[in-house]
Structure formats: structure tokens, C-alpha cells
């Protein structure tokens, strides 16, 4: 009976619980991605400065984020700072803060690299027209850099989404955790529960990330046509 146990997927109560978990996952990921992109843009533009006052803190920030695993940052903020400094952050707030900082660091470096790879004469001719530095960033450099950034930033967004299961460890009940709970409750009566539940979660992650990938390819095609 290869499909036995599939009925676990047709129990509305189970689906509702998975749905709630999914909402938590999507909410944390989406808010983090928005913050990451906004702050990443700003930090990335600032990081173009060659001054040591910018470069030293920027490199420290970037390397700290890259070298230390996300899970350690989550623990540090949730258990460490919360207790030490008396912050009373929920797991969700902590998750959003850590993922936003991580995403912002990665995004900043993408933005910095993308803008500095634009030909210098774009800036020169904009200056010669009398545009201010801020106008040059806003109307000339960032719009061109963003077009080149699309593939890498979509990749970053899907990485953030795929890292959300770590949040279980700071008490957040997201979709994967709900799945585990359902499996634990049903495993004795339904030995195939794990296959069906994890299978469904697999499909859910795919359904979230695939449209993002398609969108990115569309934008790339559209903008490379210019």
C-alpha cells in the first residue's frame, strides 16, 4: 500500500496548524528581507567611501556576520543580550532583528560591489551635467546597480527563507516545527506520517521560492533587454 497514511494531509485541523506555522515563517522572512534590502542599500552606498572611518567598521561588521553562524547570532541575541541587558524580546522580534542584520550585511556588500563595478564615466558625465552626488546615486548609479543585483539579491532572499527553520531553537513555532509536532502525535498510528508531512513542507518551500526565482528571471530578461 504505497500511499497509505496520506489521509494525514486531508485532516483540516492538521492543515490549519501547518498554515499557522507557514504564516509565521513567511512573516519573519518577508519583514527581514524588506529590512535587509533597505538597510543593505544604505550601508552599501556608505561603504563605497574609501575612508578608514567607514572601511574599518564596515569590514568588521561584514566579517563578523559572515564568520559567525546565524544560529550563534540568534542565541546571542535571544539568550545573551536579552538576559544581560534586560531586553524582553520575543523570539519573533529576535528572529527578525538577526535576519535583518545578516541580510543587510550581505546586501550591503552586493550593492557596494555592484555600484563600484559601474564604469567611472557614468559618474563623471553626471557630475559634468551639474548633478549632486546624492542625485547621481539616486538617479544614475543605484538604478543601474539594482538591475545587475537582481539575481544575487533573489538568491539572498531565498537563503533567508531557507534559514527560517533555525528559529525553532529560539522557541518560534514555524512551519517545520508544526510538522514535527504533527508527526510526533501521529507516528504511532500512522508510520508514514513523516513522509507525507515533510513531503508537503518540501512542496510549500518550493512554492514560496520558485515564484521568486521566476520573477527574478523575468526582471533580468526585461532589464537586460535595455
Amino acid at each position: 500500500m504505497p500511499f497509505s497514511g496520506a489521509e494525514i494531509l486531508f485532516d483540516p485541523a492538521n492543515l490549519a496548524r501547518l498554515g499557522e506555522g507557514l504564516i509565521v515563517t513567511v512573516r519573519i522572512a518577508a519583514i527581514s528581507i524588506v529590512f535587509a534590502f533597505l538597510f543593505g542599500m544604505v550601508i552599501g552606498v556608505i561603504a563605497l567611501s574609501r575612508s578608514g572611518f567607514v572601511q574599518i567598521p564596515y569590514q568588521l561588521f561584514l566579517q563578523a556576520i559572515r564568520i559567525v553562524p546565524q544560529i550563534v547570532w540568534l542565541f546571542l541575541f535571544f539568550f545573551g543580550f536579552a538576559r544581560l541587558l534586560g531586553w524582553n524580546w520575543s523570539g519573533e522580534t529576535t528572529g527578525i532583528v538577526v535576519f535583518s542584520i545578516w541580510g543587510a550585511a550581505e546586501m550591503a556588500d552586493l550593492v557596494r560591489a555592484s555600484i563600484s563595478s559601474l564604469p567611472a564615466h557614468q559618474t563623471q558625465s553626471a557630475l559634468a551635467l551639474g548633478l549632486a552626488r546624492s542625485q547621481i546615486y539616486l538617479h544614475v548609479l543605484i538604478p543601474q546597480a539594482v538591475r545587475r543585483l537582481i539575481p544575487a539579491s533573489i538568491n539572498l532572499a531565498t537563503r533567508i527563507i531557507k534559514t527560517t527553520p533555525l528559529l525553532v531553537l529560539i522557541t518560534i513555532v514555524e512551519v517545520l516545527k508544526v510538522g514535527q509536532q504533527l508527526i510526533e502525535a501521529k507516528i504511532l498510528t500512522n508510520p508514514a506520517a513523516a513522509f507525507w508531512i515533510y513531503g508537503l513542507i518540501f512542496v510549500i518551500y518550493f512554492l514560496i521560492c520558485f515564484p521568486i526565482a521566476v520573477l527574478s528571471r523575468r526582471l533580468e530578461a526585461k532589464w537586460s533587454a535595455q
Partner: protein
């Protein structure tokens, strides 16, 4: 004839390397000054100091009665000085029309419709009005340079600086760009034209500077210069072009 730009004893070094070694000249309104000279003699650096893209170390630049230097509001000055470079430097993410209207809208605070009207008049003048909605990548090199000229003209500058704007073009396209410059000169636009096209230098300028090694070596009417260069250095420079047929 009123003098719009005067450069006196202008000096500029990059580290130990003296690039402008006491340059003197002036340009009257409505006149065309051509600058020629070997690669590396400082022509681009000279143009770039005039609109503040490069700082200078000594001497003075007086533009429209105003002494330019460290305290200058370069944004305002640049909005009166148009410049076109050798490299194609249109903004690649903007359509032709938006390339031209960007600075008038953002720098001069013109209304979009007004800026577009100016832009369309310029595009008609260079016969590219049918390309208003094209992106730069859809244009030939010659068309790009003509749009770059229109983009600078849209600011209604007092003077235009051209830095070897045909150097990356093949001869046919270079021709259409040079014709655009001749038409512009006929409208009495004040211009400084750096060029490596000797035939063109002969045809366009009211005045010609021959530079060598950061100095102005000869100055005079283009016809006289080409007919009878006075210095050994100029003769040697010109002889290089004779073998180029």
C-alpha cells in the same frame, strides 16, 4: 567680443608628474577653440580642470567673470558648462529622452513637459527625434555621441567642451558627429574642441592651440598653423599624420 573663459598660468601635477605646466589662453563668446597635441600632453586634464572634475594647483581660471577654485559652487558652474567625453557615457537605464531631461529636471528644476519640449527640439536638430524612446544600447556609436551632445545642450550652457568625442568611432560615424559639431558652431555656440582629426581641426576652429608636454607650444589661426607650423615640435607632430592615409 566679450571674453567668456580665461585660463592663466594654469598648473597641475599628479604627484611628481607635471601635467599642466603654465597654460594660458582665452576664449571669446561665440568662438571655437581647437586643441590638438600628442597623447598624454594634458588635453583631457585641461578640460577637466575647467569644470572642476580635476582640481588644479596654481594659476587661475576665470569663467564668465568669476574666478574658479576651491570655494567654487561647482554644481552651478557645471550647469553652465557642457561637456562630452570620448567614452559613450549615456545613462544606460534611461531612454534617450530621459537621458536628456534628467539634468534640466533635477538641476534646473524644470517641469517635465518643458524639459521634454527642449529635448525634442534638440533631437529634431540632430535628426534623432524618432529615437526618443530608444535605450542607449539600441543606438549606434555615432547616434550615442549625438545624444550625449544634445544632453549637454539641454542645460543651455554658455560653453561646450568636447574631449575627442569621435576617437572611439569608425570614420563614417565620426563624420556624422563632426557634422553635428559644425552645425553647432554655426549657431555661435562657444566651444573648446579637443580632437585628433586634423582635417576637422583645420575646418572648425577660429583659433587653435597646439599642446606638448603640458605647455601651449603654438597658438594661432588653424589655417596658418597647418600651412606653416612655426616650431619643430609642431612639424614633428603633424608629420605623423601624413603617413596615415
Amino acid at each position: 567680443m566679450s571674453e567668456i573663459l580665461a585660463v592663466r598660468n594654469l598648473r597641475k601635477s599628479f604627484g611628481p608628474h607635471v601635467v599642466l605646466d603654465g597654460i594660458d589662453f582665452s576664449v571669446d563668446e561665440g568662438k571655437v577653440l581647437t586643441i590638438i597635441g600628442a597623447s598624454g600632453c594634458g588635453k583631457s586634464t585641461l578640460l577637466r580642470t575647467i569644470n572642476g572634475l580635476e582640481a588644479f594647483d596654481g594659476g587661475e581660471i576665470v569663467f564668465d567673470g568669476e574666478r574658479l577654485g576651491p570655494g567654487t559652487d561647482w554644481r552651478r558652474v557645471r550647469s553652465h558648462i557642457g561637456m562630452v567625453f570620448q567614452s559613450y557615457d549615456l545613462f544606460n537605464h534611461l531612454k534617450v529622452i530621459d537621458n536628456i531631461t534628467l539634468a534640466p529636471i533635477k538641476v534646473q528644476n524644470k517641469r517635465k513637459e518643458e524639459a521634454e519640449e527642449i529635448a525634442m527640439n534638440l533631437l529634431r536638430r540632430i535628426r534623432l527625434d524618432d529615437k526618443r524612446n530608444a535605450y542607449p544600447r539600441e543606438l549606434s556609436g555615432g547616434q550615442k555621441q549625438r545624444v550625449a551632445i544634445a544632453r549637454a545642450l539641454a542645460m543651455q550652457p554658455r560653453i561646450m567642451l568636447f574631449d575627442e568625442i569621435t576617437a572611439s568611432l569608425d570614420p563614417e560615424m565620426s563624420q556624422e558627429v563632426l557634422e553635428a559639431l559644425l552645425e553647432l558652431a554655426a549657431t555661435k555656440m562657444t566651444m573648446i574642441v579637443v580632437t585628433h582629426e586634423m582635417g576637422f581641426a583645420k575646418a572648425i576652429g577660429d583659433d587653435l592651440l597646439f599642446m606638448d608636454d603640458g605647455k601651449v607650444v603654438e597658438r594661432g589661426a588653424p589655417r596658418d598653423f597647418f600651412a606653416a607650423p612655426r616650431t619643430q615640435r609642431a612639424r614633428r607632430f603633424l608629420s605623423r599624420f601624413e603617413y596615415q592615409i
